[in-house]
């Protein structure tokens, strides 16, 4: 089994000093080692954004896809070879903005893919515009008068649309985050880990300190992640306003929702018995189908 260091390439990370991506990257490499998949089994798909530069730093069978389109690429990849374990890394603008439709549908189909969302509530790589998870009324370069929309309720959306493992982590708590990632990867079905990840350059509101003052671990409060209503209620509790004090804004982290035993998309495909490249070893005899035409 590869160890943490083996998941690194010769390229050194180019994220800003203090970026939450470092903590996520450490946690993810640790999680890969703990899950113990071989290099042949693991495949990773990235969207476009600061998180996506991880494609250069992470040694694996990787696909650095288009902005917002990591999930459909990962879906095609996972269905093309059921022997692979597919992990997606995407950003909040990437996955909840331009790619939101794919996210909702991926949840519905409960495909056996693990999604790690780098949720820094801002567009980093394009220099600080509002993202779908930016706090309402926050001023950004694209919203100088403040964001008028409510942020996407990412956890609630995932639960409502049928994801069977929904968790939230915090990049500055790597041990806790690693455990969430491992649980998500071991989960059979569509697993989402949305990670609070401070952007030190563009998001001056949701800083590491700001999060540290507000997050709490749901497993310490007796939350039952198998209770869908409780999970949904918890997803609503993440809303807060810009001026709220740490006492008023409590942000749950941990496994919010979990469900075992639901059929995955692949379970509905009895024809999917192995890698699909084996279907093209020789021409198929389609005389039966041709004979039925007309």
């Amino acid at each position: 089994m590869p160890d943490v260091k083996e998941f690194e390439t010769a390229n050194r990370p180019t994220w800003c000093p203090g970026c939450g991506n470092f903590g996520m990257w450490q946690a993810l490499k640790q999680a890969y080692q703990e899950v113990g998949w071989s290099f042949e089994e693991l495949a990773v798909v990235w969207g476009i954004g600061c998180h996506g530069n991880g494609a250069d730093f992470t040694r694996c069978q990787g696909f650095h896809a288009l902005h917002g389109r990591a999930l459909p690429v990962a879906t095609g990849l996972a269905l093309s070879n059921p022997d692979l374990h597919v992990v997606v890394e995407m950003g909040d603008g990437d996955g909840y903005g331009i790619g939101l439709g794919h996210f909702a549908h991926a949840c519905r189909r409960n495909i056996d893919v693990t999604v790690i969302v780098h949720d820094n509530q801002i567009y980093g790589l394009t220099t600080g515009q509002a993202s779908p998870t930016t706090e309402q009324f926050m001023k950004t370069i694209s919203t100088p008068d403040g964001v008028l929309e409510e942020p996407v309720n990412t956890l609630g959306l995932a639960i409502a649309e049928g994801a069977t493992f929904v968790a939230r982590g915090f990049s500055a708590d790597p041990a806790h985050l690693t455990a969430l990632m491992v649980a998500a990867m071991r989960h059979r079905g569509f697993a989402v880990v949305d990670v609070f990840q401070p952007c030190v350059t563009w998001n001056k509101l949701n800083t590491a300190t700001w999060f540290r003052d507000r997050v709490y671990k749901v497993d310490e409060t007796g939350h039952d992640p198998y209770d869908k209503n409780a999970a949904f209620a918890l997803s609503l509790s993440t809303y807060h306003d810009l001026s709220c004090s740490p006492d008023e804004c409590r942000l749950p982290i941990g496994v919010i929702y979990q469900e075992e035993g639901r059929a995955t998309y692949g379970d509905g495909l009895p024809q999917l018995t192995g890698p699909l490249w084996r279907q093209a070893l020789r021409p198929r005899d389609v005389s039966a189908a041709m004979g039925r035409l007309g």
């Binding site: 042949e40 798909v45 095609g76 996972a78 093309s80 439709g101 024809q271 890698p275 389609v286």
Partner: protein, 599 residues
């Protein structure tokens, strides 16, 4: 009415059935064609329908002949009117002496200015159905009986077909239909006007495949070992999704109706990364949504096949009508530059062949291959010799699907690591699938180095090396793609030289057959591979021609412009249409006859 160049005494007939959507017009037409093909005759169908499920006018025509049929024609020999609108819209298409089959209860000939020239065949569809205790939808069965009766074609083909069609229903359903067909047949065969044509089945009918273009593409994809097909419904590509979905478990294919076309194209790229032979198909509108990912397939060097089946555009356009207006679109789709192959099948047989070939080209070149079709191809059934299944080959190019990449030294760099985008040779690098030992890599939408890392892609020399490697694959493509096809006279001796692409070949072939008979020599070139463009062949074809002409279904002369651009030769004349209808051979005949007689 244009000229009808068909011989007055001829073995072939064209029958048109019209009525409101929901009358079972298409089902009736397809049953009719099936009856003829089972009797060894050849057919070519043309369906016309609005983008509606109920209401609106539908028409379905079947051309039938003891000889192979290459195209529909404009002229109708039998018009079956299930309502008044059919008569009003189509009576002028009837030839002199042609039969007009109608129910006097629901349609009248009173308003026709030229009643005397048609053979009126009143058949009480309604009464026949009521007598048999059947449902109103069965009026189309009475009409089919009448058509076969008129042509004195054995009724048994229809009754056998009905019994097979309703085999799973209670037996009285089939027998009601048979009774209705028989009554219709009696009316048709005992008509009092002189209908001069008859159709006879062949004693020993050869095997034939009665398929539309989408079925042919689907069969070609299945034969080629497709592993994943993704699509979002859009006319005229939807029936390919239906065909693939109907065969998924039988042939081990994953078929995904995705949330949108963006997902379809990206999913196909992901499946191709995993090693599946993967395809998506749509109309021009859906391809508009796929375009960014089409470019991703180019830069990531993904082996994918994309069907782009043109309907009259832009935007929603004419959803159920044909056009050839997406040629320039597929040639230029997506930002930046990357190699692509565009193949344009001209008929169902070519649709089958070019589809399985497209999968080989995609794998050999590791780049997207477009199948450029249109509504005229997708929707219309044609009887053809069975597709040549034995000719299908699978060539996956430089693919390593399992084992250890380190046993493939040509795929490794100086440091012994696998290079997904290794530069050199013909520009195609060894492609190791996920699962192959040592095949860590980054397949990348960013410009990248040989490992696939984006960080180094911005170095000018790296960018140049990768871009030149990719674009260089076009030279390899030139050696692999199917060449143009030539029909009719040699261009040296021809009165007129004609260039077409795609399905316009079909009416053009019919027209030049008539023209040859009438003493005009026509050379026809069908460009099959639209890109890389067969510059040398087209230039040679046009070199020294007396009169040259491009026929294409668009306003702006997209192929004609491409010929000018690539060959620096200007074809002299053109014939274009963009009204949603395919060219008919009569129109091409008239135009070519006129051009061939010019000084």
């Amino acid at each position: 009415m244009p000229t009808d160049p068909r011989p007055a005494s001829r073995p072939d007939l064209q029958i048109k059935i019209g009525g409101a959507a929901g009358f079972g017009i298409k089902a009736a037409g397809q049953t009719l064609a099936r009856c003829f093909v089972q009797g060894g005759l050849h057919t070519f169908d043309l369906t016309e329908y609005p983008s509606l499920i109920r209401g609106g006018h539908n028409a379905y025509q079947v051309r039938v002949s003891p000889e192979p049929v290459v195209s529909h024609v404009l002229a109708i020999d039998i018009l079956v009117a299930l309502n008044q609108e059919t008569i009003d819209l189509h009576h002028t298409e009837l030839v002199d002496g042609g039969a007009l089959v109608f129910d006097p209860k629901t349609a009248k000939l009173d308003g026709l200015p030229d009643q005397a020239r048609v053979c009126a065949v009143p058949v009480p569809f309604d009464d026949i159905v009521k007598e048999a205790g059947g449902l109103p939808i069965m009026r189309n069965v009475a009409a089919l009986g009448a058509v076969l009766g008129l042509a004195h074609y054995p009724l048994s083909y229809l009754t056998d077909s009905l019994r097979a069609q309703f085999a799973k229903k209670p037996p009285e359903v089939a027998e009601q239909n048979v009774a209705v067909a028989t009554k219709g047949y009696e009316h048709g065969s005992s008509t009092t006007c002189a209908f001069p044509f008859r159709l006879d089945p062949l004693p020993d009918p050869p095997r034939a495949v009665l398929a539309d273009g989408n079925e042919a593409v689907g069969l070609g994809a299945l034969a080629a070992g497709i592993g994943m097909y993704c699509a979002y419904p859009m006319t005229p590509a939807s029936s390919l999704l239906h065909f693939m979905a109907a065969h998924d478990r039988e042939y081990g294919v994953v078929v995904k109706h995705t949330e949108d076309e963006i997902a379809a194209m990206n999913m196909v790229i992901g499946a191709a990364f995993g090693g599946a032979r993967a395809m998506c198909a749509t109309a021009g509108g859906g391809f508009s949504l796929m375009v960014e990912a089409f470019g991703l397939a180019g830069i990531s060097e993904s082996a994918v096949v994309v069907g782009v089946f043109t309907r009259a555009g832009p935007a929603t356009g004419l959803p159920t009508w044909t056009e050839q207006s997406d040629l320039r679109f597929v040639l230029h789709a997506a930002q930046g530059e990357f190699p692509r192959v565009v193949l344009a099948p001209g008929d169902t047989t070519e649709a089958f062949e070019l589809t399985w070939m497209a999968f080989n080209l995609a794998d050999q070149l590791q780049t997207p291959v477009v199948l450029l079709g249109d509504t005229y191809l997708c929707d219309n059934r044609r009887s053809a010799p069975p597709f040549d299944l034995a000719a299908v080959t699978i060539d996956r190019g430089k693919l390593v699907a399992d084992g250890d990449i380190r046993t493939h030294p040509e795929a490794l760099g100086a440091d012994g690591a696998y290079l997904r985008y290794k530069v050199g040779g013909d520009g195609v690098s060894v492609r190791a699938l996920p699962g192959v030992t040592g095949a860590t890599q980054v397949v990348n939408s960013y410009e990248h180095d040989e490992y696939g890392f984006g960080a180094q892609g911005e170095i000018a020399s790296v960018r140049n090396a990768q871009n030149e490697k990719r674009m260089g694959k076009l030279e390899l493509a030139r050696t692999l793609v199917p060449p143009p096809k030539y029909y009719g006279a040699s261009p040296d001796t021809a009165d007129v030289s004609v260039i077409v692409f795609g399905t316009t070949k079909q009416p053009a072939l019919q027209a030049i057959e008539w023209l040859e008979r009438d003493g005009a020599r026509v050379a026809l070139m069908q460009i099959v591979t639209m890109w890389p463009f067969p510059t040398g062949e087209v230039a040679a074809f046009l070199d020294g021609t007396k009169r040259s002409l491009v026929i294409e279904g668009n306003f702006t002369g997209q192929l004609e412009g491409l010929i000018r651009q690539e060959c620096l030769i200007a074809p002299r004349d053109h014939l274009r249409r963009w009204d949603g209808r395919p060219f008919n051979p009569e129109q091409i005949y008239d135009k070519l006859l006129e051009v061939s007689r010019r000084a």
